[in-house]
Amino acid sequence: MSAMKMYQAPRTLEEVMRAAGETGATIFAGGTDLMPRWSKEIVPRPAAVVDIKAIEGLSGIEVTDGEICIGACTLMSGLDESAALRRAAPILAEAASRIACPQIRNRATLGGNLCNASPAADTAVPLIALDAVVDVAAPGRAGATSREVSITDFFQGPGKTALEPGEVLTRVRFKRPAAVATWAWEKFGTRPAMEIAVASVGVIVEASDGVIERARVAYGSVAPTPLRGHGAEAALVGRRLTDETIGGCVAAARGEISPISDVRASAGYRREMVGVMLRRMLEDARGG
Protein backbone atom coordinates (compact mmCIF):
# COMPACT_ATOMS: atom_id res chain seq x y z
CA MET A 1 0.00 0.00 0.00
CA SER A 2 1.24 3.44 -0.91
CA ALA A 3 0.75 6.46 1.29
CA MET A 4 0.14 10.06 0.49
CA LYS A 5 2.68 12.03 2.45
CA MET A 6 2.10 15.52 1.22
CA TYR A 7 -0.77 17.86 0.38
CA GLN A 8 -0.02 21.38 -0.82
CA ALA A 9 -2.30 24.15 -2.03
CA PRO A 10 -0.05 26.90 -3.40
CA ARG A 11 -1.27 30.25 -4.66
CA THR A 12 0.81 30.51 -7.81
CA LEU A 13 1.03 28.49 -10.99
CA GLU A 14 4.83 28.47 -10.73
CA GLU A 15 4.66 26.63 -7.41
CA VAL A 16 2.20 24.11 -8.85
CA MET A 17 4.42 23.43 -11.81
CA ARG A 18 7.45 23.07 -9.59
CA ALA A 19 5.62 20.56 -7.39
CA ALA A 20 4.17 18.66 -10.33
CA GLY A 21 7.29 18.81 -12.52
CA GLU A 22 10.13 18.33 -10.07
CA THR A 23 8.62 16.21 -7.31
CA GLY A 24 6.03 14.47 -9.45
CA ALA A 25 3.06 15.60 -7.33
CA THR A 26 -0.35 14.77 -8.80
CA ILE A 27 -2.39 17.80 -9.79
CA PHE A 28 -5.59 17.79 -7.77
CA ALA A 29 -8.65 19.86 -8.68
CA GLY A 30 -12.07 18.62 -7.52
CA GLY A 31 -10.76 15.12 -6.84
CA THR A 32 -13.94 13.47 -8.16
CA ASP A 33 -12.02 11.38 -10.67
CA LEU A 34 -8.94 10.90 -8.52
CA MET A 35 -10.38 10.05 -5.12
CA PRO A 36 -12.70 7.15 -6.07
CA ARG A 37 -9.70 5.49 -7.72
CA TRP A 38 -7.65 5.86 -4.56
CA SER A 39 -10.34 4.65 -2.20
CA LYS A 40 -10.95 1.58 -4.36
CA GLU A 41 -7.21 1.14 -4.80
CA ILE A 42 -7.63 1.07 -8.57
CA VAL A 43 -4.48 3.18 -8.66
CA PRO A 44 -2.08 3.70 -5.77
CA ARG A 45 -2.31 6.96 -3.88
CA PRO A 46 0.39 9.31 -5.10
CA ALA A 47 3.07 10.33 -2.58
CA ALA A 48 2.15 13.99 -3.03
CA VAL A 49 -0.75 15.99 -4.41
CA VAL A 50 -0.84 19.64 -5.35
CA ASP A 51 -4.25 21.27 -5.13
CA ILE A 52 -4.72 23.96 -7.78
CA LYS A 53 -7.95 25.51 -6.48
CA ALA A 54 -6.25 28.26 -4.45
CA ILE A 55 -4.55 29.72 -7.53
CA GLU A 56 -5.93 33.08 -8.39
CA GLY A 57 -7.59 33.51 -11.74
CA LEU A 58 -8.22 29.82 -12.45
CA SER A 59 -11.96 30.01 -11.71
CA GLY A 60 -14.66 32.00 -13.37
CA ILE A 61 -16.50 32.58 -16.61
CA GLU A 62 -15.89 35.63 -18.78
CA VAL A 63 -18.38 36.28 -21.54
CA THR A 64 -17.65 39.08 -24.00
CA ASP A 65 -19.28 39.83 -27.36
CA GLY A 66 -16.66 37.84 -29.19
CA GLU A 67 -15.29 35.22 -26.85
CA ILE A 68 -16.07 33.06 -23.87
CA CYS A 69 -13.22 32.23 -21.54
CA ILE A 70 -13.58 29.77 -18.64
CA GLY A 71 -11.01 29.05 -15.93
CA ALA A 72 -9.95 25.42 -15.49
CA CYS A 73 -11.13 25.28 -11.87
CA THR A 74 -14.63 26.52 -12.65
CA LEU A 75 -17.09 24.07 -11.14
CA MET A 76 -19.80 22.23 -13.03
CA SER A 77 -22.32 23.92 -10.72
CA GLY A 78 -20.79 27.26 -11.76
CA LEU A 79 -21.30 26.43 -15.45
CA ASP A 80 -24.84 25.24 -14.73
CA GLU A 81 -25.79 28.33 -12.74
CA SER A 82 -24.18 30.99 -14.94
CA ALA A 83 -26.94 33.00 -16.62
CA ALA A 84 -24.36 34.53 -18.97
CA LEU A 85 -23.17 31.09 -20.13
CA ARG A 86 -26.77 29.88 -20.51
CA ARG A 87 -27.34 32.77 -22.90
CA ALA A 88 -24.06 32.66 -24.77
CA ALA A 89 -23.35 28.92 -25.02
CA PRO A 90 -26.29 26.95 -23.62
CA ILE A 91 -24.93 23.69 -25.08
CA LEU A 92 -22.10 23.71 -22.52
CA ALA A 93 -24.24 24.82 -19.57
CA GLU A 94 -26.71 22.05 -20.39
CA ALA A 95 -24.05 19.34 -20.51
CA ALA A 96 -22.56 20.52 -17.20
CA SER A 97 -25.99 20.48 -15.57
CA ARG A 98 -26.42 16.83 -16.53
CA ILE A 99 -23.24 15.61 -14.86
CA ALA A 100 -23.88 13.35 -11.86
CA CYS A 101 -25.60 15.09 -8.91
CA PRO A 102 -25.31 18.34 -6.89
CA GLN A 103 -22.60 16.92 -4.61
CA ILE A 104 -20.38 16.08 -7.58
CA ARG A 105 -21.20 19.25 -9.53
CA ASN A 106 -20.15 21.30 -6.48
CA ARG A 107 -16.67 19.75 -6.69
CA ALA A 108 -16.02 18.63 -10.27
CA THR A 109 -14.08 21.14 -12.35
CA LEU A 110 -14.13 21.76 -16.09
CA GLY A 111 -10.35 21.31 -16.31
CA GLY A 112 -10.54 18.01 -14.43
CA ASN A 113 -13.24 16.73 -16.76
CA LEU A 114 -11.01 17.43 -19.77
CA CYS A 115 -7.66 16.36 -18.24
CA ASN A 116 -9.14 13.07 -17.06
CA ALA A 117 -9.72 12.46 -20.79
CA SER A 118 -12.53 9.94 -20.51
CA PRO A 119 -14.24 9.28 -23.86
CA ALA A 120 -17.44 9.93 -21.87
CA ALA A 121 -16.39 13.36 -20.48
CA ASP A 122 -19.63 15.27 -20.82
CA THR A 123 -18.17 18.75 -21.39
CA ALA A 124 -15.88 17.52 -24.17
CA VAL A 125 -18.62 17.03 -26.76
CA PRO A 126 -20.05 20.59 -26.49
CA LEU A 127 -16.53 22.03 -26.45
CA ILE A 128 -15.64 20.18 -29.67
CA ALA A 129 -18.87 21.49 -31.23
CA LEU A 130 -17.85 24.98 -30.07
CA ASP A 131 -14.35 24.64 -31.61
CA ALA A 132 -12.75 25.42 -28.27
CA VAL A 133 -9.05 25.78 -27.52
CA VAL A 134 -7.37 25.21 -24.17
CA ASP A 135 -4.52 27.24 -22.73
CA VAL A 136 -1.76 25.15 -21.23
CA ALA A 137 0.82 26.59 -18.85
CA ALA A 138 4.22 24.99 -19.19
CA PRO A 139 7.16 25.41 -16.86
CA GLY A 140 9.85 27.54 -18.52
CA ARG A 141 13.19 28.93 -17.41
CA ALA A 142 11.84 32.44 -16.95
CA GLY A 143 8.52 31.46 -15.34
CA ALA A 144 5.50 29.87 -16.93
CA THR A 145 4.93 29.97 -20.65
CA SER A 146 1.58 29.35 -22.26
CA ARG A 147 0.61 27.41 -25.34
CA GLU A 148 -2.71 26.94 -27.04
CA VAL A 149 -4.03 23.49 -27.99
CA SER A 150 -7.21 22.83 -29.95
CA ILE A 151 -9.68 20.71 -28.06
CA THR A 152 -9.53 17.93 -30.67
CA ASP A 153 -5.71 17.74 -30.43
CA PHE A 154 -5.93 17.81 -26.64
CA PHE A 155 -7.49 14.34 -26.42
CA GLN A 156 -5.04 11.64 -27.46
CA GLY A 157 -6.64 8.46 -26.13
CA PRO A 158 -8.52 7.12 -23.13
CA GLY A 159 -6.91 8.92 -20.16
CA LYS A 160 -4.30 10.51 -22.45
CA THR A 161 -3.98 14.20 -23.24
CA ALA A 162 -1.50 16.52 -24.91
CA LEU A 163 -0.27 17.64 -21.47
CA GLU A 164 3.37 17.00 -20.63
CA PRO A 165 4.23 16.22 -17.00
CA GLY A 166 4.06 19.37 -14.92
CA GLU A 167 1.83 21.23 -17.37
CA VAL A 168 -1.43 22.77 -16.18
CA LEU A 169 -4.56 23.41 -18.18
CA THR A 170 -5.45 26.97 -17.21
CA ARG A 171 -8.36 28.07 -19.39
CA VAL A 172 -10.83 26.98 -22.02
CA ARG A 173 -11.77 29.49 -24.71
CA PHE A 174 -14.12 29.57 -27.68
CA LYS A 175 -15.82 32.06 -29.97
CA ARG A 176 -19.33 32.97 -29.00
CA PRO A 177 -21.67 31.07 -31.36
CA ALA A 178 -23.77 33.19 -33.73
CA ALA A 179 -27.11 34.20 -32.27
CA VAL A 180 -28.88 32.37 -35.13
CA ALA A 181 -27.10 29.07 -34.45
CA THR A 182 -29.27 26.21 -33.26
CA TRP A 183 -27.78 23.62 -30.95
CA ALA A 184 -28.61 20.28 -29.43
CA TRP A 185 -26.82 18.05 -26.99
CA GLU A 186 -28.03 14.78 -25.59
CA LYS A 187 -26.56 11.96 -23.62
CA PHE A 188 -28.09 8.55 -23.45
CA GLY A 189 -27.57 6.48 -20.33
CA THR A 190 -28.97 3.34 -18.82
CA ARG A 191 -31.02 5.24 -16.24
CA PRO A 192 -32.26 8.80 -15.93
CA ALA A 193 -30.16 9.81 -12.87
CA MET A 194 -26.38 9.76 -12.23
CA GLU A 195 -25.74 8.36 -15.68
CA ILE A 196 -22.40 8.06 -17.42
CA ALA A 197 -23.09 8.43 -21.14
CA VAL A 198 -23.54 5.23 -23.12
CA ALA A 199 -23.34 7.63 -26.06
CA SER A 200 -23.69 11.37 -26.47
CA VAL A 201 -24.07 13.73 -29.41
CA GLY A 202 -23.71 17.49 -29.75
CA VAL A 203 -24.64 19.57 -32.79
CA ILE A 204 -24.38 23.27 -33.63
CA VAL A 205 -25.82 24.36 -36.96
CA GLU A 206 -26.01 27.76 -38.64
CA ALA A 207 -28.37 28.09 -41.58
CA SER A 208 -29.25 30.96 -43.86
CA ASP A 209 -32.53 30.81 -45.83
CA GLY A 210 -32.80 27.14 -44.93
CA VAL A 211 -29.35 26.25 -46.28
CA ILE A 212 -26.79 25.07 -43.74
CA GLU A 213 -23.71 27.25 -43.85
CA ARG A 214 -21.79 25.84 -40.92
CA ALA A 215 -22.17 22.64 -38.95
CA ARG A 216 -20.31 21.13 -36.04
CA VAL A 217 -21.02 17.60 -34.85
CA ALA A 218 -19.33 15.78 -31.96
CA TYR A 219 -19.76 12.41 -30.25
CA GLY A 220 -18.95 11.03 -26.80
CA SER A 221 -18.40 7.45 -25.58
CA VAL A 222 -18.15 6.01 -29.08
CA ALA A 223 -14.41 6.21 -29.79
CA PRO A 224 -11.14 6.21 -27.80
CA THR A 225 -11.59 9.98 -27.37
CA PRO A 226 -14.50 12.38 -27.64
CA LEU A 227 -14.72 12.75 -31.40
CA ARG A 228 -15.47 15.45 -33.97
CA GLY A 229 -17.87 14.33 -36.69
CA HIS A 230 -16.18 15.60 -39.85
CA GLY A 231 -18.20 13.25 -42.04
CA ALA A 232 -21.54 14.21 -40.53
CA GLU A 233 -20.64 17.89 -40.86
CA ALA A 234 -19.75 17.51 -44.55
CA ALA A 235 -23.10 15.76 -45.12
CA LEU A 236 -24.89 18.88 -43.82
CA VAL A 237 -23.00 21.91 -45.13
CA GLY A 238 -24.48 23.50 -48.27
CA ARG A 239 -27.69 21.49 -48.00
CA ARG A 240 -31.23 21.93 -46.75
CA LEU A 241 -32.45 19.71 -43.91
CA THR A 242 -34.41 17.33 -46.14
CA ASP A 243 -35.05 13.68 -45.23
CA GLU A 244 -32.28 12.81 -47.66
CA THR A 245 -29.77 15.15 -45.99
CA ILE A 246 -30.65 13.83 -42.55
CA GLY A 247 -30.32 10.23 -43.75
CA GLY A 248 -26.93 11.01 -45.29
CA CYS A 249 -25.73 12.70 -42.12
CA VAL A 250 -26.83 9.78 -39.94
CA ALA A 251 -25.12 7.28 -42.26
CA ALA A 252 -21.90 9.33 -42.14
CA ALA A 253 -22.08 9.47 -38.33
CA ARG A 254 -22.57 5.71 -38.02
CA GLY A 255 -19.58 5.19 -40.28
CA GLU A 256 -17.14 7.49 -38.55
CA ILE A 257 -17.58 6.36 -34.94
CA SER A 258 -15.77 3.31 -33.53
CA PRO A 259 -17.70 2.23 -30.44
CA ILE A 260 -16.70 -0.69 -28.26
CA SER A 261 -18.79 -3.12 -26.20
CA ASP A 262 -18.44 -2.81 -22.43
CA VAL A 263 -20.48 -3.14 -19.24
CA ARG A 264 -22.76 -0.25 -20.23
CA ALA A 265 -23.69 -1.24 -23.78
CA SER A 266 -22.68 -3.13 -26.89
CA ALA A 267 -20.93 -1.47 -29.81
CA GLY A 268 -23.94 -2.06 -32.05
CA TYR A 269 -26.32 -0.47 -29.58
CA ARG A 270 -24.08 2.59 -29.26
CA ARG A 271 -23.92 2.99 -33.05
CA GLU A 272 -27.71 2.69 -33.24
CA MET A 273 -28.24 5.26 -30.48
CA VAL A 274 -25.91 7.81 -32.08
CA GLY A 275 -27.98 7.53 -35.26
CA VAL A 276 -31.26 7.87 -33.35
CA MET A 277 -30.12 10.91 -31.33
CA LEU A 278 -28.65 12.69 -34.34
CA ARG A 279 -31.76 12.06 -36.46
CA ARG A 280 -34.03 13.43 -33.72
CA MET A 281 -31.84 16.51 -33.26
CA LEU A 282 -31.84 17.32 -36.96
CA GLU A 283 -35.60 16.73 -37.27
CA ASP A 284 -36.17 19.00 -34.27
CA ALA A 285 -33.89 21.63 -35.83
CA ARG A 286 -36.05 21.81 -38.94
CA GLY A 287 -39.22 21.76 -36.85
CA GLY A 288 -40.43 18.18 -37.32
Binding site: M1, S2, A3, M4, K5, M6, Y7, A9, F28, G31, T32, M35, P36, W38, S39, K40, R45, V49, D51, K53, S77, A100, C101, P102, Q103, I104, N106, R107, A193, M194
Partner: protein, 163 residues
Protein backbone atom coordinates in the same frame (compact mmCIF):
# COMPACT_ATOMS: atom_id res chain seq x y z
CA UNK B 1 -3.70 -1.18 6.15
CA UNK B 2 -2.27 2.17 5.31
CA UNK B 3 1.31 3.14 5.97
CA UNK B 4 1.58 5.51 8.94
CA UNK B 5 2.55 8.98 7.79
CA UNK B 6 3.25 12.22 9.57
CA UNK B 7 0.09 14.07 10.46
CA UNK B 8 -0.54 17.68 9.55
CA UNK B 9 -2.42 20.37 11.47
CA UNK B 10 -5.85 21.30 10.28
CA UNK B 11 -7.96 24.19 11.61
CA UNK B 12 -11.52 24.55 10.41
CA UNK B 13 -15.04 25.09 11.62
CA UNK B 14 -17.46 22.24 12.24
CA UNK B 15 -21.07 22.96 13.11
CA UNK B 16 -20.11 26.46 14.23
CA UNK B 17 -17.21 25.41 16.48
CA UNK B 18 -13.55 26.05 15.73
CA UNK B 19 -11.74 22.75 15.58
CA UNK B 20 -8.03 21.88 15.45
CA UNK B 21 -6.90 18.41 14.46
CA UNK B 22 -3.87 16.54 13.25
CA UNK B 23 -4.76 14.47 10.19
CA UNK B 24 -2.81 12.41 7.72
CA UNK B 25 -2.57 14.00 4.26
CA UNK B 26 -4.69 11.30 2.67
CA UNK B 27 -7.51 11.38 5.24
CA UNK B 28 -10.88 12.22 3.79
CA UNK B 29 -13.22 14.74 5.37
CA UNK B 30 -15.55 11.82 6.16
CA UNK B 31 -12.74 10.07 8.06
CA UNK B 32 -11.82 13.24 9.98
CA UNK B 33 -15.45 13.79 10.98
CA UNK B 34 -16.13 10.19 11.99
CA UNK B 35 -12.80 8.96 13.35
CA UNK B 36 -11.27 12.11 14.83
CA UNK B 37 -14.31 14.15 15.82
CA UNK B 38 -16.61 11.19 16.49
CA UNK B 39 -19.37 12.83 14.53
CA UNK B 40 -20.72 9.49 13.36
CA UNK B 41 -23.97 10.86 12.00
CA UNK B 42 -22.20 11.23 8.68
CA UNK B 43 -22.19 7.77 7.11
CA UNK B 44 -20.00 6.21 4.48
CA UNK B 45 -21.30 3.64 2.05
CA UNK B 46 -19.53 3.47 -1.28
CA UNK B 47 -16.64 5.89 -0.73
CA UNK B 48 -16.73 6.74 -4.40
CA UNK B 49 -19.34 9.44 -4.78
CA UNK B 50 -22.25 7.21 -5.77
CA UNK B 51 -24.43 6.89 -2.68
CA UNK B 52 -24.53 10.30 -0.94
CA UNK B 53 -24.57 8.82 2.59
CA UNK B 54 -21.58 11.02 3.44
CA UNK B 55 -23.17 14.32 2.28
CA UNK B 56 -22.23 17.39 4.33
CA UNK B 57 -22.14 21.11 3.66
CA UNK B 58 -18.75 22.64 2.86
CA UNK B 59 -18.91 26.44 2.85
CA UNK B 60 -22.65 26.16 2.31
CA UNK B 61 -22.54 23.73 -0.61
CA UNK B 62 -23.44 20.07 -0.39
CA UNK B 63 -20.53 17.72 -1.15
CA UNK B 64 -19.65 14.06 -0.67
CA UNK B 65 -17.29 14.10 2.32
CA UNK B 66 -15.71 10.82 1.09
CA UNK B 67 -14.39 12.72 -1.94
CA UNK B 68 -12.91 15.69 -0.05
CA UNK B 69 -9.44 15.59 1.51
CA UNK B 70 -9.58 16.73 5.12
CA UNK B 71 -6.68 19.11 4.48
CA UNK B 72 -8.69 20.89 1.79
CA UNK B 73 -10.99 22.16 4.52
CA UNK B 74 -8.48 24.42 6.29
CA UNK B 75 -10.24 27.70 7.14
CA UNK B 76 -13.53 26.41 5.77
CA UNK B 77 -16.81 25.71 7.45
CA UNK B 78 -18.47 22.28 7.55
CA UNK B 79 -22.00 21.48 8.65
CA UNK B 80 -22.98 17.89 9.43
CA UNK B 81 -26.26 16.31 10.49
CA UNK B 82 -25.24 16.93 14.13
CA UNK B 83 -25.26 20.66 13.37
CA UNK B 84 -28.93 20.97 12.44
CA UNK B 85 -30.78 20.60 15.75
CA UNK B 86 -31.07 23.69 17.97
CA UNK B 87 -31.37 23.53 21.76
CA UNK B 88 -32.35 19.89 21.70
CA UNK B 89 -35.02 20.40 19.06
CA UNK B 90 -34.77 18.74 15.69
CA UNK B 91 -34.51 20.90 12.61
CA UNK B 92 -37.81 21.08 10.65
CA UNK B 93 -36.25 18.99 7.88
CA UNK B 94 -35.44 16.26 10.41
CA UNK B 95 -38.94 16.48 11.86
CA UNK B 96 -40.47 16.25 8.42
CA UNK B 97 -38.52 13.03 7.75
CA UNK B 98 -39.75 11.57 11.05
CA UNK B 99 -43.35 12.64 10.51
CA UNK B 100 -43.51 11.28 6.96
CA UNK B 101 -41.99 7.88 7.73
CA UNK B 102 -39.14 8.85 5.41
CA UNK B 103 -36.71 6.91 7.59
CA UNK B 104 -36.58 3.13 7.73
CA UNK B 105 -33.13 1.71 8.48
CA UNK B 106 -31.90 5.30 8.63
CA UNK B 107 -28.55 4.76 6.97
CA UNK B 108 -29.22 7.17 4.11
CA UNK B 109 -31.09 9.68 6.27
CA UNK B 110 -28.25 11.99 7.38
CA UNK B 111 -27.06 12.36 3.79
CA UNK B 112 -30.61 12.78 2.47
CA UNK B 113 -31.42 15.40 5.06
CA UNK B 114 -28.21 17.38 4.46
CA UNK B 115 -28.84 17.34 0.71
CA UNK B 116 -32.45 18.40 1.14
CA UNK B 117 -31.36 21.07 3.64
CA UNK B 118 -28.81 22.39 1.11
CA UNK B 119 -31.50 22.49 -1.58
CA UNK B 120 -33.76 24.61 0.59
CA UNK B 121 -30.97 27.08 1.36
CA UNK B 122 -30.98 27.91 -2.34
CA UNK B 123 -34.59 27.25 -3.22
CA UNK B 124 -37.11 27.82 -0.44
CA UNK B 125 -40.03 26.12 -2.19
CA UNK B 126 -38.75 23.55 -4.65
CA UNK B 127 -41.08 21.68 -7.00
CA UNK B 128 -41.26 17.90 -6.90
CA UNK B 129 -39.09 17.72 -10.01
CA UNK B 130 -36.50 19.95 -8.35
CA UNK B 131 -36.50 17.81 -5.21
CA UNK B 132 -36.04 14.64 -7.26
CA UNK B 133 -33.17 16.19 -9.19
CA UNK B 134 -31.50 17.47 -6.03
CA UNK B 135 -31.61 14.00 -4.48
CA UNK B 136 -30.24 12.17 -7.54
CA UNK B 137 -26.96 11.46 -5.77
CA UNK B 138 -28.53 10.00 -2.61
CA UNK B 139 -29.44 6.32 -2.63
CA UNK B 140 -32.04 4.80 -0.33
CA UNK B 141 -32.48 1.03 -0.29
CA UNK B 142 -35.56 1.06 1.98
CA UNK B 143 -38.17 3.74 1.46
CA UNK B 144 -38.71 3.80 -2.29
CA UNK B 145 -38.08 7.56 -2.15
CA UNK B 146 -41.74 8.62 -2.20
CA UNK B 147 -41.87 9.40 1.51
CA UNK B 148 -38.58 11.23 1.37
CA UNK B 149 -39.84 13.45 -1.43
CA UNK B 150 -43.10 14.06 0.43
CA UNK B 151 -41.14 15.00 3.56
CA UNK B 152 -39.05 17.57 1.71
CA UNK B 153 -42.08 19.00 -0.11
CA UNK B 154 -44.04 19.27 3.15
CA UNK B 155 -41.77 22.14 4.23
CA UNK B 156 -42.96 24.27 1.33
CA UNK B 157 -46.16 25.06 3.19
CA UNK B 158 -45.02 24.61 6.75
CA UNK B 159 -43.19 27.23 8.67
CA UNK B 160 -39.57 26.74 9.52
CA UNK B 161 -38.50 27.45 13.06
CA UNK B 162 -34.80 27.97 12.63
CA UNK B 163 -34.23 29.79 9.38
Amino acid sequence: MREVVEKVDLAFEVNGDSVRLAVSPDATLAEALRDDLELNGTKTGCEEGECGACSVLLDGKVVNSCLVLALECGGKSVVTIEGLAREGRLHPMQEAFVNHGAIQCGYCSPGMIMTAYALRLENASPTEAEVRRALEGNLCRCTGYRKIIDAVLSLNNGESRHD
